[in-house]
Symmetry: C2
Subunit: 230 residues, 2 copies
DNA sequence: ACACCAAATTAGACGAATCTAACCCAAAAG
DNA sequence: CTTTTGGGTTAGATTCGTCTAATTTGGTGT
């Protein structure tokens, strides 16, 4: 059986592969998980022994298909839990990450499938992140672009908010910005700030690091059904 | 912070105190947790250092008030989870114990209070066990007696089923015996078996170890409201 | 080519939770 | 009042995940 720690490493490596390119350097993993480099070396050896990652000494690691499946399983748990906590237990989207981060390692397959059923097999979590399917096929991220890459004009719909800071998330939802929100870029200030206008007419200014985290796409012109995020 | 293991030991010691009398012998704890005696000795030392149990060398341990509070907290988590899994996720009462046994150590106080709220502050879990209150006051078990102590005649209501074996629990619920069931002792056979008759008229025979686990009391003559188990 | 440097690995230690083997109480039995 | 003996404790080892300190590696820059 895999320990919660091993699952954490696999999830981290998988995420890093989605952004930068494999192989993933130990130092990167160390920073993400807030451990020292030797700890990563020994853990990575263990994962390699189990066939969950491929290791090139002094280079880094990449997940094997089996390792990727494990990562997807944990990510599915995490995102289902976030959705569940929000929809069934009344959590705010700012609070769900921490709780899901712990529970994702401890729920059974039974729990997973019952939660998925109760939620009617959701495809996106409260932050707009896609939930891996029960079959754990690799998810194709990104048909969306960062808000920070857009210039003035044109309607955009918030697809995904890749930020987990509770204060920032609370600020955004209070300002009316969550997945599904339709907005227009009003001004791109040369001081690292973007101002957007919401459908309500209100303007919201956001520093670059937040605008980087907000992913947008062309607005959904069909009827709102909450599942049409693909 | 307490580890999940320390919580397990405290819960076990607390449970044993509720049955037999303190101090609780290491061997008893070892058997309940399926570990060896030396393991118990070292764990008990650690708990004593933390002020969670009082230890009399070569005698055994008893929980301190702080230790008892920790045990009650975990038991509250466990029973709330069992109730939640049953009522909200559609689990059968035979399945909930295992899942709750794991999750009880990992849910936050936030989770606990939200689940309690969603369930409308339940006082009993699906097996009829009382759920410690949010204030963690010691619960007064037992106003009920074992079915095995009753002889023929007289209506009895099932208050509590102190059995966690999934197969046995499934058998009982299939037979129509769950907390709230009203029955009459039909025959006490001298071969270690009791036969009861349900309100439906059907008879069910039960071996002694099951009859020991079923706790009964005088039937609730008031209207059924599902909370009148006290 | 050679030296340098940042990053990775190896070496050795530690705390938690567990085990087996060896030893020691203390309460019951003479 | 001694002896027996079951159960408890001590000693020492193991695994997991982590650390710090020392060493090695491989790519960079001159």
């Amino acid at each position: 059986m895999l320990s919660a720690k091993m699952e954490d490493y696999l999830k981290a490596i998988y995420r890093l592969e989605r952004d930068g390119d494999p192989p993933i350097a130990p130092s990167t993993i160390a920073e993400m998980l807030d451990v020292t480099a030797p700890t990563v070396t020994s853990m990575v050896e263990k994962l390699a022994d189990r066939g969950l990652v491929e290791r090139e000494k002094y280079k880094g690691v990449r997940t094997t298909p089996e390792g990727e499946t494990v990562a997807l399983e944990i990510i599915r748990h995490h995102r289902l839990l976030e959705t569940f906590l929000t929809e069934q237990l009344g959590y705010d989207w700012a609070e769900v990450h921490e709780e899901a981060e712990v529970l994702e390692h401890h729920i059974s397959e039974e729990f997973e499938s019952r939660v998925a059923a109760v939620l009617d097999e959701p495809e996106f979590d409260p932050h707009g992140d896609p939930i891996p399917s029960d079959s754990l096929d690799p998810i194709d991220d990104e048909s969306a672009t960062a808000l920070s890459e857009h210039s003035e004009g044109g309607q955009l719909e918030v697809a995904r908010v890749r930020d987990r800071d509770p204060d920032e998330l609370t600020y955004l939802s209070d300002a009316g910005i969550t997945p599904g929100t339709v907005l227009t870029v009003e001004e791109v200030a040369p001081i690292g700030m973007v101002t957007v206008q919401l459908e309500s007419g209100s303007s919201v200014s956001l520093p670059d690091h937040i605008a980087d985290a907000i992913q947008v796409r062309a607005p959904d012109t069909q009827g709102e059904d909450g599942v049409s995020q693909a």
